[in-house]
Symmetry: C2
Subunit: 515 residues, 2 copies
Amino acid sequence: MNPQDLAPVLIGGAWRPAAAVDAFSASNPATGQTLAERFPVSDWSDVDAALDAAVQAFAAMQMLPAERLAGFLRSYAEHLEARAEDICATAAAETGYPVSPRLKDVELVRTVDQLRQAAAAAVDPGWRLPVIDARAKICSVLEPLGPTVVFGPNNFPLAFNGVSGGDFAAALAAGNPVIAKAHSSHPGTCRRLAECAQQAAQKTGMPPGTVQLLYGLRRPDGLRLVSDPRLGAAAFTGSRTAGMSLKTAADAVGKPIYLEMSSVNPVVILPGALAERSQEVVNELVTSALMGTGQFCTNPGLVLLIDGADAQAFLAAMAQRYRSAACGTLLSKGTQQGLMAGIQALTRAGASVVCGNQPAARPGWAWANTLLSVSGQQFLTAAKALQTEAFGNATLAVVAADSAQLVELLAHCEGNLTGCIYSAQDGRDDVLYDAVARVLRPRVGRLLNDKMPTGVAVSPAMNHGGPFPATGHPHFTAVGLPAAMRRFTRLACYDNVRPHRLPPILRGSAAPGRP
Amino acid sequence: MNPQDLAPVLIGGAWRPAAAVDAFSASNPATGQTLAERFPVSDWSDVDAALDAAVQAFAAMQMLPAERLAGFLRSYAEHLEARAEDICATAAAETGYPVSPRLKDVELVRTVDQLRQAAAAAVDPGWRLPVIDARAKICSVLEPLGPTVVFGPNNFPLAFNGVSGGDFAAALAAGNPVIAKAHSSHPGTCRRLAECAQQAAQKTGMPPGTVQLLYGLRRPDGLRLVSDPRLGAAAFTGSRTAGMSLKTAADAVGKPIYLEMSSVNPVVILPGALAERSQEVVNELVTSALMGTGQFCTNPGLVLLIDGADAQAFLAAMAQRYRSAACGTLLSKGTQQGLMAGIQALTRAGASVVCGNQPAARPGWAWANTLLSVSGQQFLTAAKALQTEAFGNATLAVVAADSAQLVELLAHCEGNLTGCIYSAQDGRDDVLYDAVARVLRPRVGRLLNDKMPTGVAVSPAMNHGGPFPATGHPHFTAVGLPAAMRRFTRLACYDNVRPHRLPPILRGSAAPGRP
């Protein structure tokens, strides 16, 4: 293995050959073919160097006004737009997602919008919640935590990428250098994004090490990284298994880690909505569930109905649509294997296959659109197993015997990112809605009415978070600025500190701010 | 063991005999004598019943307007004031603290003030950070997490008591029922406080189970409690060993737990301050270090100086004061053993005893005021062991060779609640101040100038928190309202939810709030 044949890593402001212990390539999911570009798995010495560089960068960044961070983020957005063709073509080859309408028209637009929103949030100091108690000579403010590592997921190669996505933008805008760990399924995309970031960093005079990129790490090195004393925080989006390993390592040394791990996103369709607009809801549900081959964190993987003729007709219409809809490409061989294993876990726990669960008639990584169902009674006997996430184009319908059982089912739901309730417009579901919402509300980060969960608007009011195991802590959100930035801060209090030594934001003798 | 001979537990709004598996008594630390009142160690069935009652209470509390919570907190404060004599006499017998000036004049005043501040914070809805995005029809707000267990420490029988202190007030004001776990060294105080709380709860019509009290738990039951699915969150103040056990259990299931575990609270005295006002600083330091026999979370346990004639004179003056000062009472036999073990860990790691470290000439639990010292060079070889908390009236002075070594020493400091820097008034320390502050700032929750750390003002700007291992997460504070209340909340987002179904605070179509 010649390091010169491998893509370079970005450490301390320079692209350099990795201290490689292994190498890997991505593959094109639409064909299954291995792509040409080869990427290194780094030795710990690369991680060590990146941490040292990040510590230096952080010290320098703390001296910079917020406007400089904002300038970098805006410049980065421009560089991404200028290189959109190349980036999206690479992402398409590595993910199987279409350049249009997905990557260029939607995801890149979202990505640059997030970077610009983060730039705007960075310069509006209210996000740091300054509190000045002039009488007691005590004041406090949120300050950046320090070097942040971001592990991006497989399913958003741009908008949640460790080197360009929501966690990156939030951590950077809060004042922290970012060490991005590329996802192994789209390393070429990460490389191109990081090239843009580094160009923007140089152009705007950011310290070397503001943005760094590593492609592959050995598992023990990943655990060591999230618990390293030099690190400020970690952010991870991915599988529950990988997330829990990192969480355990970080928790043991009290290192903040923000995780988005898994979610089946229950959708409850009340009888009145079924009677009133069954076809409309089927359309919305199928569109949401199969969009992007179901590979969304907020994919509606669990649908709950109350048994009856309407519910059976609804499921029949769903199955009809699942059978006739084109079957999309999955992100990787591992994604396909994970989906098949998830479906198997559901059937083992008592779910019946209504349609699908067979090879798809297309090349590359794919599996037939799969609809499963289970009775409410059966769900109650194996609630945990029946909440296994089958990440991809599979959906489990749970048919409750009656209203009381529906509420009972929801009481067995784990923490999720979202929960949706469809109810009649004429009010006939309102009593049941209240009972359902009361149980569902504390189990989800975002509660929706009459709307599927897959659109995660970049709104200051958004919560892309939720109770464990959807995330590691229900107080924080990964989307929505400036709230997402606060994850990467600590509360810093100044008591009797001489005024000229205070951070500028705390210098005024103004009336106490909103605490 | 007859349950009728043991103090009753408070579960579900009623005082009832415990399902006792063991029993214990407190002792009077000033005499070493066992006190008469006997308290149960509960079986899990008591915990189970308390959790069930708390779930019921939480459901009912969510229907109440914030004014009802505030009314309860104010009524509770009044009941405490009415029963001040009895409560303070019991606390004095159990802790050795004087009724005056400590318990009645200071700590009870602080306790009722906190309860009233929490009442005021509860009814000012801005603390919940509502954000309304009217255009996107998305809004979010912090909502209470649910039943909260509070483990109070030994050293503040009133102001940090699980059933009356800061965590209690914050969790309750945020809308959560509290299960208090009494500290084993002052169960009688806890009982009397909880009697007041229960009277206030009844008077103000709070749901049964709003406040509950258990005295003793077996260790596995404590771990089971903080990881129980019915629990919303846990708060703990105490030793690092106990805190880490609870943290590990809670983290494993993603249950929020807020811990305050240990802190040596470095105090750095720069050369100019020594030259300018050595005697004044000695006075402040010795008063702070020996106050309450050193039994404060923010006790200055680690003093850092730069070697020289002034530093040696400072230490000699300190030693002189330590020898001549009356030796106070320690909270329990366990506290004395812990102090002795802490001192032993420090001497084993190379610290020399300047004075003390011998039995005190008084009855009950006590140990001579102890001053230790170590060179900067030695500190660097055993930095971790030399940060062992010797909880009580012991202080370690570290004498750095020069300015550069002083800064290096601080770079080896673990996370602490506080850090203090004394510097000259005439500016001659300012360059060194900057170097010291840069290293100390990220290692402490509260940075002080020219002031000792032991006073924790109940200010909205206060941070009584800090990086691990002082606490479990550097984003949160245990003192300072409303920030402390936010610990006991989760972020709840509503997306397209019909307006009449929104919580009242989110109903307005007002312009977006400050996110």
